[in-house]
Subunit: 449 residues, 2 copies
């Protein structure tokens, strides 16, 4: 009896510890999730705002159900307004607008074609009607599905094609049962339009999140990240008392943004003019700027590899290239900072030009310091890493010029303010000659390789 009691106690204890462990696990998971949520919210507080905006939009549209005078007009079709809000509401205004337009136009076209198919089919007998309807649904949905593979259509109208198939099938097929097909199509279209406009309006008027603005800031920040690396590089590579290397790793995020950038460009193209950006701002050019930034970031990544490599060139060899390398890297850094500043303030970054010219001069000086006569009795294997670093920095000068070119092109396309012109007007001195010289230097390539 005592042993049985003991067994019971033991069993209870193990059950208790099991339950306790399980409970602790759940609590842990919840705590982790809460921490993640806090981090997500702190990283970008607009996420929290966006969530509340979605909740608000859905609640507002569901008012159709609560008020009799609203409900009477649409009846059950009011659910399409709710569905549209849920499906169309995206993070940025551009994405929401794009999806809304896609859904609206596709519903219009699909509905019209569905009504037409139903009318055509209803002239025949009942058996033939179902066959004609079935065949038209088959062919039109197959065709529209194939259209979704066209890259250009996929980029901007993928969702519209989907909704086109959906509406066409629903309207033409339901028409077989319900003769009020025109009214059905009309109700569906108007509820979709109501839902879509509710989503777009709330998206624009309550703390709007513009994809274009995000894209613009992302580009400027990325250029700045490269500048931060190049600023610190000389100190890290050529001086023995090393600082904190990890502080230079900021550029790494630049290598990952490609897909994000394309999504932002596609969204931004839908956006109306806002803030400093007019409608039809040259968003496509940002992809080109992004490509040149990434090219530079890959070179910087290679450079970072030498920074962290265990096999180092002796200091006395490094010091031979130190002056020109440090010069190039710091001048590139300054030029990039000026470009980023110009982007942020939307002015032409004329002040980047002198830095680029200095970097080019330093590259030419490097050439003369690389004559063998200056390196007697040195093991080639010791020289190679230093030479590779120097050659990478020369490449980075070319990359910086490419970035400057593409930013310059962007400035021309979107008509940034021209500080030089302002000054020329103020002082009355023609600065055209200087400006054309600068333009010429932009298109020049570095000849040292």
């Amino acid at each position: 009896m005592a042993s049985e009691n003991q067994e019971n106690v033991k069993g209870l204890k193990s059950a208790w510890s099991w339950a306790k462990g399980y409970f602790e696990k759940i609590v842990n998971v919840v705590i982790c999730a809460a921490k993640d949520a806090k981090k997500l919210g702190e990283e970008d507080p607009r996420r929290v705002i966006h969530s509340f905006k979605v909740g608000l939009a859905i609640t507002l549209v569901s008012l159709f159900y609560y008020f009799d005078f609203l409900y009477e007009g649409f009846g059950v079709a009011a659910m399409w307004a709710v569905i549209t809000v849920v499906v169309v509401f995206e993070f940025s205004v551009g994405a929401t607008f794009g999806k809304g337009m896609n859904r609206g136009i596709a519903t219009l076209l699909g509905g019209a074609l569905g009504v037409a198919a139903h009318r055509l089919a209803s002239f025949t007998g009942e058996n033939a009607e179902s066959i004609i309807l079935g065949l038209s649904v088959f062919w039109i949905s197959a065709l529209a599905t194939f259209l979704r593979f066209f890259p250009k259509l996929k980029a901007r109208y993928d969702y519209g094609l989907l909704i086109f198939i959906l509406t066409f099938s629903l309207i033409s097929v339901s028409g077989y049962r319900d003769d009020e097909v025109l009214e059905m199509a009309h109700k569906r279209l108007s509820t979709v339009l109501i839902g879509g406009s509710a989503a777009v309006l709330i998206c624009i008027f309550i703390c709007p999140i513009w994809a274009g603005e995000d894209l613009h800031n992302l580009t400027a920040t990325n250029i700045e990240k490269l500048a931060v690396f190049l600023e610190g590089f000389g100190r890290e590579y050529f001086e023995t008392n090393k600082g904190n290397k990890a502080s230079l790793d900021g550029y790494k995020s630049v290598l990952k943004v490609k897909g994000n950038e394309e999504v932002l460009v596609n969204s931004a193209k839908w956006e109306p003019g806002h803030g400093r950006f007019r409608y039809r701002h040259p968003w496509g050019q940002y992809l080109k700027v992004g490509r040149s930034i990434r090219e530079c970031a890959y070179k910087i990544d290679a450079l970072n590899g030498y920074l962290n490599s265990e096999m180092q060139t002796p200091m006395e060899i490094r010091s031979k290239v130190q002056e020109s390398c440090t010069k190039m890297s710091s001048e590139c850094s300054c030029a990039l900072r000026e470009l980023a500043k110009g982007l942020k303030t939307m002015t032409r970054a004329m002040s980047a030009e002198p830095h680029i010219r200095n970097a080019k001069t330093a590259a030419k000086n490097l050439k003369s310091s690389l004559q063998t006569s200056l390196w007697p009795d040195t093991d080639l294997l010791d020289i190679i890493p230093a030479a590779a670093v120097a050659s990478l920095i020369v490449d980075i000068v070319s990359c910086t010029i490419k970035i400057a070119d593409s930013v310059h092109e962007l400035a021309c396309l979107s008509k940034f303010k021209n500080p030089a012109a302002v000054i020329a007007n103020q002082t009355g001195q023609g600065r055209v000659a200087v400006a054309s010289d600068i333009k010429g230097s932009l298109n020049l390539n570095v000849v040292v390789e």
Copy 2:
């Protein structure tokens, strides 16, 4: 009168030429679109098959409307089956299955919660009911929208969360008007399940397109593309009679596939066992293999830059590194080919090991040929490009080893056949020693830098 006639004729002529020009433009656009369509279809004939499959699925599900005995059960709710097919049917089985599961489970959960909210609210008075329902819709949709920002949830359950919000709002809000809320939720769930299973069944049983198989083949093809470049590189760089450089540009497509790969992995994770792949094949490992392939492709891209550079090292300098470079590049090419072959046949690529070992030996030989004493009276500027090429090829050897390591890991995880073990069993000689030596060499890094 005559001049009026002439004017009329002139007007008619210009109208005619305008109409003709316009018509020709339209014809041109149609011809271009038809050519694009033909190209898309020839590139991957499965696109055409997929389009017909979608048409078939939608037509089949719309049968609900045509046959009375089917229509009676569901009535207007049958449209949810059509909607589900249109929205869920994706190119690959995995993506379709994932979306179908997401939609099914989210409809179940959202519907259950919606019914519960409606029941709870109906205990109160009518005014309080609408307020409670509105508040619950607001909070739950805001919460679920915020959950969509969690990266892990976004990757696999984004669509499910959307459908959850949708179903919950629809069921709880419609319940305010229609007391048959349980029946409504039940009908919606069963039609969604019917539509989802129709999509999945047609996707699996008519010419299935497996995301996993695509991913596997893509990986093997990418490795082969790198091998093709390295095979041709020695010939192109060290011999004066140059062949067709463009034939070496195949590797460039490897640099672009990253986003595509992640989509394929996420889809493949949903797929049941198929063909040579069991359920829970280690799909995640393909991302690691892909990363190492891309790393190698970037080095190859840099190498390609030197191939096309106008500033070339004199041939007599290049010839000093020719032997070891050609050796390294061709051995890496052979190793990569063996790895690709192993992947394709799903056997462990033991035969890649000797090639990697040869490449390492060549890398060590290169080290001794880079002593300054062998290069008297040479301009360092002439040596640097050749040295950079040599150093890049050494990097490519390390990259090849990384690819071999990750493929090897994949082979272990997915239990590829082991040809060495088969031979050992056949000949009766233990080959364990060799195998362990190979494994050791895989984890060794090249020491030449």
